[in-house]
């Protein structure tokens, strides 16, 4: 019964990634290699981030929200953007269109994040006898994260790879990228600074990531038009 619950939560956490891969043309162009490479880049980025956090951050004994520390944390969080930049521009990809490249990168990024952050707690916790909503919420969070990663990758590819984009859209693109990149810090502020409950935070994450995904999609297709 508890194994059953574990499988449910695992499906919710990792299922969307698989569905995304198989439903979109990504599977037809065999972009798995790109996603795997991105996942490796994510791992390295995560390690660098951990080292930075350990070096620069004071260890706080209690869960108090300290603005200066949080600011530092947010800055370190931007290492993610650097990692994504590397994955999008420096990796040698097989000949796939920009359209698919950013999707493959975003997908690999989100999947690596889910595996790294959610698989172990899920394995340990969801099989326990005690029932909590925590792991279901965590699965939803993973969904939000997938959308966020895809939007960030889309915006990144607009910023760094596309040369001839409409001038009027450039500030919007940068603003959106900024918002998406600071989203983890915003969530952390809501969680610890304002003391929101987990369901509320996850709801917020789902809502904002969905909105951001829609906006970036619109931006991407708006930039697509003049080039084609």
């Amino acid at each position: 019964m508890t194994m059953f619950h574990f499988f449910n939560c695992a499906i919710l956490t990792f299922g969307p990634h698989a569905v995304y891969y198989s439903a979109t043309p990504l599977s037809e162009y065999d972009t798995l290699g790109t996603s795997v490479k991105t996942a490796v880049v994510y791992l390295v980025t995560a390690l660098v981030k951990l080292v930075c956090l350990a070096t620069f951050l004071k260890v706080s004994e209690n869960d108090v929200f300290d603005p200066s520390q949080e600011l530092l944390k947010a800055l370190i969080g931007f290492i993610d953007v650097a990692g994504l930049y590397f994955a999008l521009t420096q990796l040698t990809h097989r000949n796939i269109s920009q359209n698919h490249k950013f999707q493959a990168v975003g997908l690999g990024w989100a999947f690596a994040d889910s595996v790294l952050h959610r698989l172990a707690p899920l394995w340990v916790g969801a099989r326990g006898l005690e029932f909590t909503w925590e792991y279901v919420l965590q699965g939803l969070e993973s969904n939000a994260n997938l959308m966020l990663s895809l939007s960030l990758a889309a915006l990144g590819s607009l910023m760094w790879l596309r040369k001839n984009k409409p001038k009027t859209l450039i500030p919007i693109i940068y603003a959106c990228a900024g918002i998406v990149a600071t989203m983890p810090s915003i969530v952390s502020y809501l969680r610890w600074g304002l003391g929101w409950q987990l369901p509320k935070v996850v709801g917020f994450q789902l809502f904002t990531s969905f909105t951001m995904a829609l906006i970036s999609w619109q931006l991407f297709s708006a930039c697509q038009k003049p080039s084609s």
């Binding site: 037809e28 326990g128 006898l129 005690e130």
Partner: protein
Amino acid sequence: MMESSSSSSWMYQMMTAVLILIACVELCDASTVVVDVYRLIQYDIAGSPFGSRLASLNHHAASSSLLSSSTDLSRAVLVLPLTELNHHTSFINEYIEQGKPLGGLLLLLPQILRPERSETVGGHDDSFDKENLKKQLVDLEQKLIHATINYPVYFAFEDEDLDKVLADIKRNDAAGQPATATTGGYKLIVSSPAPKKLSSPTITNIQGWLPGSKADGDSNQLPTIAIVASYDTFGAAPALSVGSDSNGSGVVALLEIARLFSILYSNPNTRGRYNILFGLTSGGPYNYNGTQKWLKSFDQRLRESIDYAICLNSLGSGENGLWLHVSKPPENAYVKQIFEGLSNVAEELGVTVGLKHKKINVSNSRVAWEHEQFSRLRVTAATLSGLSAPPDLLESTGGLSDNREFVNEAAVVKSVKVVAESLARHIYGQQGKNINIFADNSSLAVNPSYIRSWLDLMSRTPRVAPFLSKDSPFITALKKELADHVVEVNLQHDVLDGMFTFYDSTVSTLQIYQVASVTFDLLLLLGLGSYLITLFSLLVITTRGLDDLISLFRRPPSRKVKSV
């Protein structure tokens, strides 16, 4: 340089990651409520089983509201506060005496009975009907002890967490969905190995002497007076059987008497012409088996030198006065002398002492009073007790209800005065005279705070003999305390005789989990499945078009490469 510093932080990083993982494991393993529970005693008398025969528990919780309906509870743990037992009078009859199947029973006792609370002297909670509670507990305990129960029975103390859980269980039960595997609810788990027989339980007797002054010749020629109290207990929950009254009060009285006479005997001028023998015996609930062993270990000369023995038993049970139980007819010279000595002093202190004569039946193995073991060996003895009638086997042996809350400290102090004063008048030949040897405010006054502190210690220490090891701290403390006052203190270890067999695992931890049902998980799976299918369809439509989706369902194996 850079290389080395980054490698050291690498190590640090790895360690943090491991620590975080461990923290995760602990956090995720936590259950809703974890409480200490005390198992109903499991024992055999001459091979026939009594008490709770199982220890491990793994069932869903049910509340008492299901008792009235005819729900099958054989796979549920009934959580029953003691206060609710009144409303379910048929419960005891059906489930305990007739052995109707039950998954398990968790009895919630009021906090007032918690042994660790013993320092707070009673009277805090006046609204609480203590006498009623006690009667109810005694009743329940006797029924539990004498029944053979084929499901685990545990005791726990009510607290906030448990109350919350119980309220939840009741709400579920009232909503008409008793907890089962398909509806979720709470699961109660005690993981405990099958109870094992205790191999040859030991009993430990402690004795000490106050030798009298040798007028001429050997001190062994002096007559001896014995003061005896049995210190061990028996009850429904061995880990809660502290026996403040039976027989903690007797032990405390004995220690105080030893302390008083040690002051007198330390001065050669006031040393009496009697030896005083102090005995703390074990095995009291089992027909005073320890007393029997102890007396048999005496040699004939010593046994004959004992003038008489006074056994102290349950001295703190209220203001009903004391009873002197004897097995020789009241006309006997010694009995008369003891009784008159006691009642004279008692009268001065405003206590009544009654005399009860009960012949011993040698063919009957039941020994109701400790003095009967002396009488069987033709040593004059009497038991001074707050109880008026001889208890049955395993009755009034310091069980669940025999708690600090129910012990009257003043009664113990008075009893000590009565015994010590009458003894002193006898030893110093002052019978019938109105002198006060242990007068209040003198250096020989009875010390109430000494009595209180020992009573508190007794009320915190479960003392069921088979579960009390030979070198347990309690026995060491008793020995040391006695050795502070009297000489030649030694321990006698022996094996508890014959027909009793005990089983271990008396204390466990109960974990209460809130669990989801299989139905819930099935629904969740259905929901997730439809979510993923919708997501898949949406993605296919937006990225490849509706036709593609339809064609996907028409010819599943074919994968046409289409440019977007």
